[in-house]
């Protein structure tokens, strides 16, 4: 177990350092979601009451599209100089590599969310009428749901033609229940009309199920030849 966590930590550290120096993923995600916010704001031009109804959907659609930008770069980076092949022949457990990538993407998308949420609040003049603290578990569980499957499918799609397009085609249909849960939970917290408990439980179940499957099957996908 200690080797697993040591390898995870080392890979994660490497990814974070690479990202810190280039800031490729975070910058492109930030600008992309900024564009989405502005375009949505133009096209709907909502009042405060309307925006409370639709904001849950807008926020998560923006984050979903932005996350795809980062997820696509996860493994593409490792293809250069045959790094991925080196991983394959190394005795390091594949699960450690996968966990490091997932945690790294989770950090990137969380940073994006932390920076973009104030902007959403300003542009759409949002104020939660329900228990606002519940947005934190919704965001954490929802981001994990997107990132864990996204990292896995990105590893699958590097083996296909036109892989940049392939990732959303695989990720979005499978993510429908998670997206529905995130959007509905956020909307019910913002409007304060319903309880978000069911959706938070559903997200937690989704996370547990798909994290388990990803960890079980990742080695098979990494070594597929």
């Amino acid at each position: 177990m200690s080797t697993l966590s040591a390898i995870t930590a080392a890979t994660l550290q490497k990814d974070l350092r690479l990202e810190w120096r280039s800031k490729d993923a975070v910058n492109s995600m930030l600008f992309f979601s900024l564009l989405v916010v502005v375009i949505f704001s133009f096209s709907f031009n909502p009042t405060a009451e309307e925006s409370r109804q639709i904001a849950g959907g807008l926020i998560w659609v923006a984050f979903l599209f932005a996350a795809v930008v980062a997820l696509n770069q996860t493994w593409a980076r490792e293809l250069r100089n045959q790094v991925l092949d080196a991983y394959r022949v190394s005795p390091a457990p594949a699960v450690a590599l996968f966990l490091a990538k997932v945690i790294g993407n989770f950090i990137f998308v969380s940073v994006l969310e932390a920076l973009m949420t104030p902007l959403f609040i300003v542009f759409y003049s949002l104020r939660a009428l329900g228990p606002g603290w519940q947005l934190i578990p919704v965001a954490a569980l929802g981001t994990w749901a997107l990132v864990v499957n996204g990292t896995f499918f990105a590893a699958m799609s590097i083996r296909t033609r036109s892989r940049e397009i392939m990732l959303p085609l695989l990720l979005f249909p499978i993510s429908i229940p998670a997206l529905l849960a995130m959007v509905e939970a956020t909307s019910s917290i913002l409007t304060g009309e319903n309880s978000a408990k069911f959706w938070i439980v559903l997200l937690a179940v989704y996370d547990v199920v798909f994290t388990t499957v990803c960890l079980l099957l990742f080695e098979t996908v990494l070594n597929a030849e």
Binding site: T160, L169, L170, P173, I174, I176, P177, L202, T220, A224
Partner: protein, 229 residues
């Protein structure tokens, strides 16, 4: 074995003709909906057949992941393809019926949404098979099929909670179905399952031949480069 296929094809054609006659002539006309209701004999059997095929796809993918058996892979591919076709029939015949009866083409009702999401998942499965080339295709396709199958209960619960405030669908009144209608429905289902099986069978043979041809061509190309040297 070679003679079994045409015999089965003739039996299926006969069964489909009989089922058509039963659905259009023998089955009683529904009191409130009228003749539009007869689409039900195509809609429901197609849905059952599609779900059965998706289930077969899941089973075959699981077998492939464990045993790496080529036959299981071909079965998974074939059942997903034919399943998507039947699921499309369901999604097309549904609105044709819903427009005169419900007054709307589409509603985000439990069953409609679930069928649409299933269709999306399996279309993405077929797209993945199309876009990936090489020997690892069966493996990553099988992995995606497992993800899709695990997603179904989660989709079910999320939509169930999302849509509980809506009235239950009209077709849900299974207990009130006229026994003559149920009889016609079952005959149609049998005919449709046989038809699906027939299509899968011929597609399975086609895929096997295609793979044999690909393999032979690859071998020939290999031999040619050797002899040129």
């Amino acid at each position: 074995m070679k003679r079994a296929f045409p015999i089965f094809a003739i039996v299926t054609a006969g069964l489909l003709t009989f089922a058509l006659y039963e659905a259009l002539v023998v089955a009683p006309t529904e009191q409130t909906m009228g003749d539009v209701q007869r689409i039900f004999y195509y809609h429901v059997p197609s849905a059952w057949t599609a779900f059965l095929l998706f289930f077969i796809n899941f089973g075959a993918s699981l077998v492939y992941l464990i045993k790496r058996n080529t036959k299981a892979d071909i079965l998974a591919l074939v059942s997903a393809e034919v399943g998507v076709v039947f699921c499309t029939v369901v999604l097309v015949t549904g609105p044709i019926w819903a427009r005169p009866v419900w007054g709307i083409w589409w509603t985000w009702d439990m069953r409609l949404t679930l069928t649409l999401v299933l269709w999306l998942i399996y279309v993405s499965y077929l797209v993945l098979r199309r876009f990936s080339s090489g020997s690892q295709t069966p493996l990553i396709a099988a992995v995606l099929a497992i993800f899709g199958a695990l997603d179904v209960p989660l989709v079910y619960f999320s939509i169930w909670y999302f849509r509980t405030q809506h009235p239950s669908p009209v077709i849900g009144r299974g207990g009130e179905l006229d026994p003559r209608m149920a009889h016609v429905l079952l005959i149609n289902w049998l005919a449709f399952s046989c038809f699906a099986f027939l299509v899968c069978w011929s597609r399975y043979r086609l895929e096997q031949v295609k793979r044999d041809v690909d393999e032979t061509q690859a071998l020939e190309a290999l031999l040619e480069t050797r002899s040129v040297r």
